[in-house]
Amino acid sequence: MIAVKKLVKRFGLKTVLRGLNFEVPEGEFVALLGPNGSGKTTFLRILASLSRPTLGEVCVAGYRLPIQASAVRRNLGVVSHLPLLYGDLTAEENLRFYGRMYGVLELSQRINEILELVGLTSRRRDLVRTFSRGMQQRLAIGRAILHDPEVLLFDEPHTGLDQDACDMLDRLLREVAGQGRTVVMTSHDLARVEDLASRFDVLSRGVISASASCSTFTVRRWQADMDRPQTTDHRPSSIVHRRSSGFLNAIGAIVWKDLAAELRSRELLSAMLVFALLVILIFNFALELDPLTRRVATPGILWATFAFAGTLGLNRSMAVEKDRGCLDGLLLAPVDRSAIYFGKTLSNLAFMLIVEVVVLPVYSVLYNTNLFNPGLIVVILLGSVGYVAVGTLLSSMAVQTRTRDVLLPILLFPVVIPILIAAVKASSGFLQGLALTEVMPYINLLIVYDVIFTAVAYMVFDYVVEE
C-alpha cells in the first residue's frame, strides 16, 4: 500500500532523509520510531504529499507522488500533533467543511457516524475552541477518516495529552485502524505504540535502521475484530460515497467556512473596522481637513484607509489558517491548489468589501460629503479585487516567515501602488463628476492589473504553499 524506494530529502544543503526504503502492505499498522529530530515528521509529510521528495520513488495507495498527488490525497487521512481544525467552527461544521472539500456524499449521515465514533455527538454544536486537547485530537481523527481513506498517517498524535486522553485516543486508534486500513504512526516513545502496531521501524540518521514485527499483535488484532464483526481485512470500499470534489465546490466550501467562522467570532471584521475608523480619525487630526482640502483628499484618505485596514485583515485571515495547522488541512484535500487560492481570495474580498460598505457611509456622515456614486462603487470593486488578489498571495508567503509580524505591508505596498494610484484618480474623477472618457484610462488600468495579477497569482500559488 505504501512503497518508498531510495527516498532522499534535502532542505537546502541539509540532508534529512538519505536513501530511505520503506514498505507497508495493505492493512498493516506500522509504528515509526525514532528520536526527536530524526526526520519522522519530514518523512510523514512526504507520504502525505505535503512535501516534495528530492530524489527517490514514493507510492501511496497505488499512486505515485508527487505526480498523482491528487489521487493519493483522496485515499489518505492525516492526524498530526496540530489539530487542523478551526476553533471558531463547531465540531459539526468542521466535519462538514472537510467533507465538502473531499466531496463526501450523504455528508450529514456520515458526520453523525463520525461524531458517534469519536464520542462527540453531545458536543457537536460546541465551538472547537472550547474543546480540551483530547477532544480536539479525537475530532481530528474523525476528520481524518471522514472520507474513509485507505491509508492513515498519524504524526505523534499523543503529544500534549494527559493519561486519560491518551488511553481514549488509543482505543479510538485501534478501532479506526482495525477496519482494514493501512496505518503509519510516528512516535518517539516505544511504550506508547507497542499495543497498537504490528511492526516497528526505527528511523535514525535518515534511513530505517531497524525493523521488528510484533508477534502478539495478530492475537490482539483478532480479538479486536471479534468485537466488531462488521469489519474485515478487505473492507468494502463503498461505505462512503465520494465524488471528485469540484473546483467550484471547494472554493464554495472555503468561502462558506471563512464567513461562518467570522460570523461567529467577528474578530477579523471588527479589527478591520476599528482600525479603519482609527486611520480616518488620525487623518482628520493629522491633515486638519478644511472643507476645501477635504474634497480633494477624500479619495486618497479612503484608499489609504482601505489599504491599511486591508493588510490587517489579510494578515489575520492567513494567520488563522497557519496557527492551528489548518493550511495543511486544506492542502491535504484532493482539490487543486488554485481552488484554495481563489477560496481565500474570495473570502478576503468579502471582508474587504464589507469593511468598505461600512466605512463609506460613516465617512459620509463624519465629513458631510456624499459618497453615493455608482462609478465609485465600480472603482472600489475593481481596486479591491486587485488588492486582494496580490494580498492573498503575499500574505500566504508572509505568514510562513519568521518576521511575519511586520512583513506583509512591506511586501504588499510596493506592488499595489499602481492600484492605489489608479483607484484614487478614478475615484476622484467620479466624485468630481469628470467625463467618463477622462476616468476610463484609470478604470482600464485597474482592469488590466486585476486580470494580470489574478492570473499570475493563480499560476504561482502552488510554489507558495508546497514544499
Binding site: F11, M397, Q400, L411
Partner: protein, 232 residues
Amino acid sequence: MKPQPIILKVLNVISVLLFLAALGMVFLYAPLEATMNYVQKIFYFHIANAWVGMLGFIAAAVAGVVYLIKHDQKWDIIELAAVEISLVFFLIAIAAGSIWARPSWGAYWTWEPRLTTAAILEMVYISYLLLRQGIDDPDRRARFSAVYTLVGAISIPITFMSIRLFRTIHPVVIGTNSAASQGSFDMTSKMLATMFFALFTFSVIFVNLFWHRIRLGQLAQQVEQLKLEELQ
C-alpha cells in the same frame, strides 16, 4: 573555490579599459552642453546606470522563473546576484538623475514617472531582501524570493504606466525640442555616440560584476555547507 577562469580575468581587464575609455569620451570627446554645462556629463552615467539596473532587473525575473521550473539552488544565487546589482545601479542612476535634474527642475527630486518608478523598484528590491532575511529554510527562501521577483517584475511596468498617466515632466531627451523648459536638450551626434559607448561599457561591466557576484554566492553556499558538515 576554483580560481577565476581565464575569460573572467580577461573580462576584468576589458571592463577597466572600457570604463577609462568611456570616461575619456564623456569628458574629452563629447561637446559641452550649452545651458547645463558640466552637469550634463552626469547624464551619460545616469542613462548607463539605469540601463544596467534594467538588465539586472530582467535577469532577476528570468532567474526567478527558471528557479520555479527547475528548483535548482543555483538559480536562486543568480537571482540574488542580479537583484543586488540592479539595486546598486538603480540607486546610482537615481542619485545621478537627481543631481542632473537639480538645475533644470530646481529641486533634487520630482515625482516624475521614470524617477518614481525607479524608486519604487528600489523598494521592491529592499522588500525582497527583507523577505529573504525572514526565512531560514533555504528552499522556501528561494521559492518565495522567486515568486516575489516575478510579482515585482510584472508590477513595475504597470506602476510606470500608472504614474505616467498620473503626471509627467521628465525631460524627453531624444525627440522634439518642445519640452526644452523641462530640462531636455539637443543631442549632437557626438553626444549620441558617447551615450551608446557608455551603454556598451556598462553592459560589459554588468556582465563582469554579475559573474563575480554569482561566484561570491557560490562561495557563501560552500561556507554554509562546511559549517553544516562540522555540525553533524
